[in-house]
């Protein structure tokens, strides 16, 4: 069995995001980039399945600029066997990514496609679902537990009401939640080995996919600043303020 895992290069989750002065986007120069956190869970799960002997190959794929190669390399360092980088410059929307992934799936013929439930930069949470639709494969989103059963996957999903357990037929798309597992560290010898693993580079245009954005981004703004809170001395004062100032009761 082959598992394809999609990984995205995003601004590191510890970095404070800054909006460009002219509102045309966010500042990405001099900013630390990392793998989208739930994508790390996706890779970890795929590698675990391979280590249990149930999969033969894990392929990491990223869609983005040249530097996204680092993100693929990171996946190789924690256990993926080889990498694919589909090069596109600028903003790539989920539809374009899923169309690219569709082409890669057609080429690589994996049995499973894993990816993070959403990316922490655009928060779209669409790529997995769109890819499932394009391929006409079943999907299991927000996975916090995955059990492989012959030609079936039993997936525990994190839903608003709690946990939902579903079964999907293989081949399938699974989008992973942060609770799925604890991603391993890349060890120094494995980072060295990863430098020798192959990364195939493809231009999105060569796949015949039109990656032009369908959405026009008009403006990016910072959220309004929250006003400082106040301390109240008594419950009476709190009730009075909620009534007369906040006018919520």
């Amino acid at each position: 069995m082959k598992i394809l895992v999609a990984v995205k290069r995003v601004i590191d989750y510890n970095v404070q995001i800054r909006v460009k002065e002219d509102g045309s986007g966010i500042v990405t120069e001099n900013v630390k980039m990392s793998t989208n956190p739930p994508d790390d869970n996706a890779i970890e799960e795929a590698v675990k399945i391979k280590e249990s002997g149930k999969a033969s190959e894990v392929i990491a794929v990223s869609v983005g600029e040249e530097k996204a190669q680092e993100t693929v390399r990171k996946a190789l360092a924690v256990g993926a066997d080889r990498g694919i980088l589909v090069k596109v410059d600028g903003i790539v929307e989920p539809l374009a990514v899923s169309k690219v992934l569709q082409k890669i799936v057609e080429k690589e013929k994996p049995d499973l496609v894993f990816m993070g439930k959403q990316a922490i930069d655009d928060d779209c949470n669409q790529t997995g679902q769109m890819l499932a639709a394009l391929l006409n494969w079943p999907q299991a989103t927000f996975a916090s537990k995955i059990e492989l059963k012959d030609k079936l996957l039993e997936v525990t999903r994190e839903v608003d009401e709690g946990l939902e357990i579903i079964e999907v037929n293989i081949p399938a798309i699974v989008t992973c939640d942060l609770r799925l597992n604890e991603p391993r560290y890349a060890s120094l010898p494995n980072i060295m080995k990863a430098k020798k693993k192959p990364i195939e580079q493809i231009n999105a245009s060569d796949l015949g996919v039109d990656t032009k954005p369908r959405i026009e981004q008009i403006k990016v703004e910072e959220p309004p600043k929250r006003k400082a809170g106040i301390k109240v001395a008594t419950v009476e004062e709190l009730v009075q303020k909620l009534k007369n100032e906040a006018k919520v009761i």
Partner: protein, 539 residues
């Protein structure tokens, strides 16, 4: 579990200007050498913080065609100012009256973090293996006592010291020579200085704490290439320090403050002095209407050649500010750190190629411009122990009239942790509350550093005696860690009327000030899990 061992010709600890220069020079001299460089930050540059007005002297020697290689050295210094600040007034000191070491017209305003990232690219292109996110946590020794290499930190240890599921053991990295280039107050460097007695006969090392903020300012206040320094207010005559304001590209201003860690008043808060400094009208008018986009702090070396330890030992070299090569009157340490790295590389090459002893470093160092530069600079910092005014007068005589060639060397008398006076003998200082426009608190400042340490790991700020902060340091010095820490790591909390010393180690921005200034040397900074600490951008 036994640890894996990896063999290299040279193992370098630290991806700053000195370590990277060593790596590059080594590969230039002998491309067959296998070199590995460890860096504790999540990427090269993420723990680098510096002013920085850059003198290209060392880089001109290391990579002569740097201008053609898209280096991040772009903004030439076009204009200089030096201001003395009084509480409300300021007066400008004519720059022609500054000693030549303080003149910058040939230099560039740069981000040292970005220069390091660029140097790392050059090093990798030459075949150096660079591993960010891997702190060297331990020195390994051969049976004969010589340095064998370093071990990287184990990863995946919980706060009780037990292995988590994700546990990944460290690696032994063994080199023919190990180069320690951790920067100011490196935690392994500190151990080596002690073990090999490298500071025997030297003055105690002197340190400062440097703050830096990057502001994006109003176009009308911005003058690309302008370099400005100040002395005076808000510090008193007895406290050594001053500010820098560098107008970089993209309407950015690098604004910073350095305070000598030999200050005496335990009530002094370096962070708040820096914040207060920005409220001076000569400074406020520059940043007003602008936005603070970055913050950080780092300890720096001020001791100079009197305090410079011996830089070689069996099997290893100690370079850059891990030893202490900063030129204090120049307020520059990047070109000197780079040069020390280059001399290290040349010594190592001789050592590996023709079996010469590593003590050859000393010979090469003494013949270099680096030594001459540090020698001439040696009397400036100690003269400021007489106060700002006498210090300036002496420095004028020493640097302008005698050009650093006075026939004597002033000594540093005390280590910085010895200088605090008891709290009840010193005046309390009332710092103004932050306005969140020009001045800020520590919490919102640390937020800008992108600092993070994986939860559930051992505290990397260790106390030799866990009771001392409350039983002695609080009593005697009003626990100055609350104030000298630029990240609010240390707090005294009252629980049921009992004082408790709290260490918020996840906020630590790796500046090392606590390890230096704690009066009983009770706080030991050790490496946290790899990749932890700040994520500085263009600092």
């Amino acid at each position: 579990m036994s640890r894996e061992t990896m063999q290299y010709d040279v193992v370098i600890v630290g991806g700053g200007p000195s370590g990277l220069s060593t790596a590059i020079r080594l590969k230039q001299l002998n491309s067959n050498l296998s070199i590995c460089l460890l860096e504790k930050a999540s990427e090269i540059g993420a723990h680098i913080l510096s002013g920085n007005v850059f003198e290209t002297k060392a880089l001109d020697e290391l990579i002569p065609n740097w201008k053609e290689l898209n280096s991040p050295i772009k903004t030439k210094v076009t204009k200089e100012k030096f201001l003395f600040l009084g509480k409300t007034k300021s007066f400008s000191w004519p720059t022609w009256l500054l000693p030549s070491v303080q003149q910058n017209h040939k230099n560039y305003i740069i981000s040292l973090a970005n220069l390091c990232r660029w140097l790392a690219e050059q090093a990798e292109a030459l075949g150096v293996e660079i591993f960010p996110g891997f702190p060297a946590s331990e020195v390994l020794y051969n049976d004969d006592g010589s340095v064998k290499g370093v071990a990287t930190q184990d990863m995946g240890i919980d706060k009780e010291g037990k292995k988590k599921d994700s546990f990944e053991p460290g690696i032994d990295l063994v080199g023919k020579v190990t180069v320690f280039a951790e920067g100011c107050r490196g935690h392994l460097g500190k151990k080596l200085i002690e073990k090999f007695n490298l500071n025997n006969g030297k003055d105690p090392q002197q340190y400062g704490i440097g703050f830096k903020e990057i502001w994006e300012i109003d176009e009308k206040n911005h003058e690309e290439g302008l370099v400005m320094h100040t002395a005076g207010w808000p510090l008193d005559n007895q406290t050594y320090g001053g500010s820098f304001i560098y107008h970089a590209e993209n309407k950015q201003v690098f604004l910073g403050y350095v305070i000598g860690l030999d200050y005496k008043n335990p009530h002094l808060s370096p962070f708040d002095e820096f914040q207060r400094f920005k409220t001076h009208k000569a400074i406020k008018k520059i940043i007003e209407g602008g936005k603070r986009i970055s913050y950080g702090a780092r300890a720096l070396i001020e001791g100079g050649i009197q305090s410079l330890p011996k830089m070689f030992m069996p099997g290893a070299l100690l370079i850059g500010c891990d030893a202490g090569t900063l030129n204090m009157p120049k307020i520059k340490g990047s070109h000197t750190a780079m040069k020390s790295g280059m001399i290290a590389a040349e010594s190592i090459n001789d050592h590996i190629l023709s079996g010469k002893d590593l003590s050859i470093f000393e010979e090469k160092f003494k013949k270099s411009w680096l030594y001459e530069e540090l020698y001439k600079a040696r009397n400036v910092k100690p003269s400021f122990s007489w106060g700002l005014i006498l210090g300036i007068i002496f420095t004028g005589i020493d640097q302008i009239l005698f050009r650093g060639r006075l026939p004597f060397t002033l000594k540093h008398k005390h280590a910085d942790h010895e200088t605090l006076k008891p709290a009840n003998q010193m005046p309390k200082i009332n710092y103004p509350k932050p306005d969140n426009i020009i001045t800020f608190d520590k919490t919102s400042s640390v937020y800008l550093t992108g600092t993070n340490h994986t939860e559930n790991q051992p505290v990397h700020l260790q106390l030799k005696d866990p009771n001392l902060p409350i039983s002695y340091t609080l009593e005697q010095f009003d626990e100055p860690a609350q104030r000298y820490c630029p990240a609010g790591v240390y707090e005294i909390q009252k629980e049921n009327n009992i004082n408790k010393f709290v260490i918020n180690s996840q906020n630590c921005i790796h500046c090392k000030t606590c390890d230096i200034k704690e009066p009983s040397q009770n706080i030991i900074w050790v490496t946290p899990e790899g990749g932890g600490g700040p994520k500085y951008g263009n600092m």
